[in-house]
């Protein structure tokens, strides 16, 4: 009985120890993540953590504004573009004074619809990636991801916020 009690106490102690350690690590992460992620930070993490069939390249913000038809946009954005063999891409837009989340989300949805139209005849097997594209709307950010594994992309993006 005594032995059992000692063992149980030791096990509890160990659990508490590792729990604190994990909490400590979380604390360290929490400190680092207090600083808001930039659009490029978000895009980089998606790029690193999600599977893509195509080769993605970081493109200028002007390209993102052009393809998403965001005239006068001045917010922080990041854009990773494919070779056009597939519709895969990553786009992150933070709100600015002229573009709130609703407007950015509309732009994202229009972009996806246009791409579905383009690829329906051009490369039909790519259309499912677009139909399951991730469009995440946060407090001040819209994230778009079209990839070979949109489920993972969805989890990863949600985990960032």
């Amino acid at each position: 009985m005594k032995k059992t009690a000692c063992l149980l106490l030791a096990a509890m102690f160990l659990f508490l120890f590792f729990g604190c350690g994990k909490g400590g690590a979380d604390s360290a992460d929490a400190t680092a993540s207090d600083a808001p992620l930039t659009a490029r930070d978000i895009a980089d993490r998606i790029f690193a953590g999600v599977k893509f069939d195509d080769t993605l390249t970081a493109a200028p913000e002007s390209s993102a504004m052009s393809v998403y038809r965001l005239t006068g946009y001045t917010g922080d954005c990041a854009y990773f573009v494919s070779t056009m063999a597939t519709p895969e891409e990553i786009a992150v837009f933070k709100t600015d004074e002229n573009h709130d989340v609703a407007k950015l989300k509309d732009a994202a949805q229009n972009r996806i619809e246009l791409q579905i139209d383009n690829y329906s005849s051009y490369a039909p097997k790519e259309v499912p990636k677009l139909e399951n594209a991730v469009i995440y709307t946060g407090e001040d950010v819209v994230v778009v991801c079209v990839s070979a594994d949109n489920k993972t992309a969805d989890s990863l993006i949600k985990g960032l916020f």
């Binding site: 069939d53 195509d54 080769t55 390249t57 493109a59 200028p60 002007s62 390209s63 052009s66 393809v67 573009v81 070779t83 056009m84 063999a85 597939t86 246009l114 791409q115 139209d117 383009n118 690829y119 005849s121 051009y122």
Partner: protein, 347 residues
């Protein structure tokens, strides 16, 4: 009696063999003939062979490997091996020979070369080798092959050159032009592009997205670049593609009379893609279509042909295998090569 029987069979066999072998003797002398040809390329050598009234059908070329000694570029020996399944075609009428399919910088390969294509009907007889006997190699002595040097001028690691020559310019075209826009390599030009856009869609648009030429209305560009062809390689009539392309150029000139118009060549594809021959996407077709596009150029009318193909193709006339995931759409490094080539060749 028995002897008579044996003798009779022997004679019958002799006759049979004589009858059967005679056609072979007709064919074989042609196959065994050695041609003395001086040529600067194996393609030219084949054209010379045609003058001898024997030509190798393209199908047979795929089985007959033209090889040359890589170690001795100055004095190589070329063999054309006729295999057991090779067909020999003998021309019985003279036909007008179309231009051979060539690129600006013909490169020698160890695989088949394209034969001429002719729209003129020819009367020809095809002799198959029915005896499954391997015919000895045809040697072409004294043949000088000039191996095309590997394109050293453009490298994917070269930095981007000064793009100011694209000021007040526009690009019109398909997904490859769209990739160029997306990479931001020419931020000072306007792009009017659509994924999958063909010359037919541009000429006869059914949607506003296809109506790319309308973007030229009221504009005064100095240069307009056209990027078409990848989506049309499977068209059965290349001349139709060229006709539509010509009409697009005419329309562009109507809208922007002062602009110089640049026809960007169709790009090479990876050899693995070319061999699959899906929807006509082969490097042979690329070169054929480019040859026809080149004929559209007329500097007097301000229409120029930019043979970007020669900057991107390797020594085998193909896109390197590791450049594009689908063997067709290359990434930013090769786009940079494309842009650098254009910078060196536009006015």
């Amino acid at each position: 009696m028995k002897k008579m029987y044996v003798l009779k069979n022997f004679i019958v066999s002799l006759v049979f063999v004589a009858v059967v072998m005679t056609p072979l003797f007709i064919i074989m002398p042609h196959a065994e003939r050695s041609y003395s040809v001086k040529a600067s390329s194996s393609r030219e050598a084949l054209e010379s062979l045609e003058n001898e009234s024997i030509s190798l059908i393209e199908e047979s070329l795929s089985e007959a490997e033209i090889v040359y000694n890589d170690e001795s570029v100055t004095d190589p020996v070329v063999y054309i091996e006729i295999t057991t399944t090779t067909k020999l075609r003998k021309r019985t009428t003279t036909t007008e020979k179309k231009d051979a399919v060539t690129s600006e910088a013909p490169s020698e390969t160890t695989t088949k070369t394209a034969t001429e294509t002719s729209s003129e009907p020819t009367t020809e007889k095809t002799y198959e080798n029915p005896f499954k006997i391997k015919i000895p190699k045809i040697t072409i002595p004294n043949l000088t092959i000039t191996k095309a040097p590997k394109n050293q001028k453009y490298s994917p690691d070269d930095p981007l050159k000064d793009t100011s020559c694209f000021d007040n310019s526009a690009f019109i075209g398909n997904s490859q032009a769209q990739a160029l826009m997306s990479y931001g390599l020419i931020p000072n030009a306007d792009f009017f592009t659509k994924i999958g856009l063909s010359v037919e869609q541009a000429l006869y648009p059914k949607t506003s997205a296809e109506n790319v030429l309308a973007n030229l209305n009221g504009k005064h560009y100095d240069k307009i670049f056209f990027v078409f062809g990848e989506n049309e390689l499977g068209w059965p009539y290349p001349d139709t593609f060229v006709k539509y392309y010509g009409k697009i150029l005419d329309k562009a000139h109507e809208k922007v009379p002062s602009a110089d118009l640049y026809i960007v060549s169709i790009f090479p594809v990876a050899d693995s893609v070319s061999k699959k021959n899906t929807n006509g996407v082969t490097n042979e077709n690329v070169r054929l279509f480019n040859q026809k596009l080149k004929e559209l150029a007329d500097s007097r009318k301000g229409v120029y042909f930019l043979n970007v193909y020669e900057a991107l193709a390797d020594e085998n006339g193909a896109l390197p295998e590791d450049i594009a995931a689908d063997g067709i759409h290359f990434g930013i490094k090769y786009c940079r090569m494309w842009v650098n080539y254009m910078i060196d060749h536009v006015k």
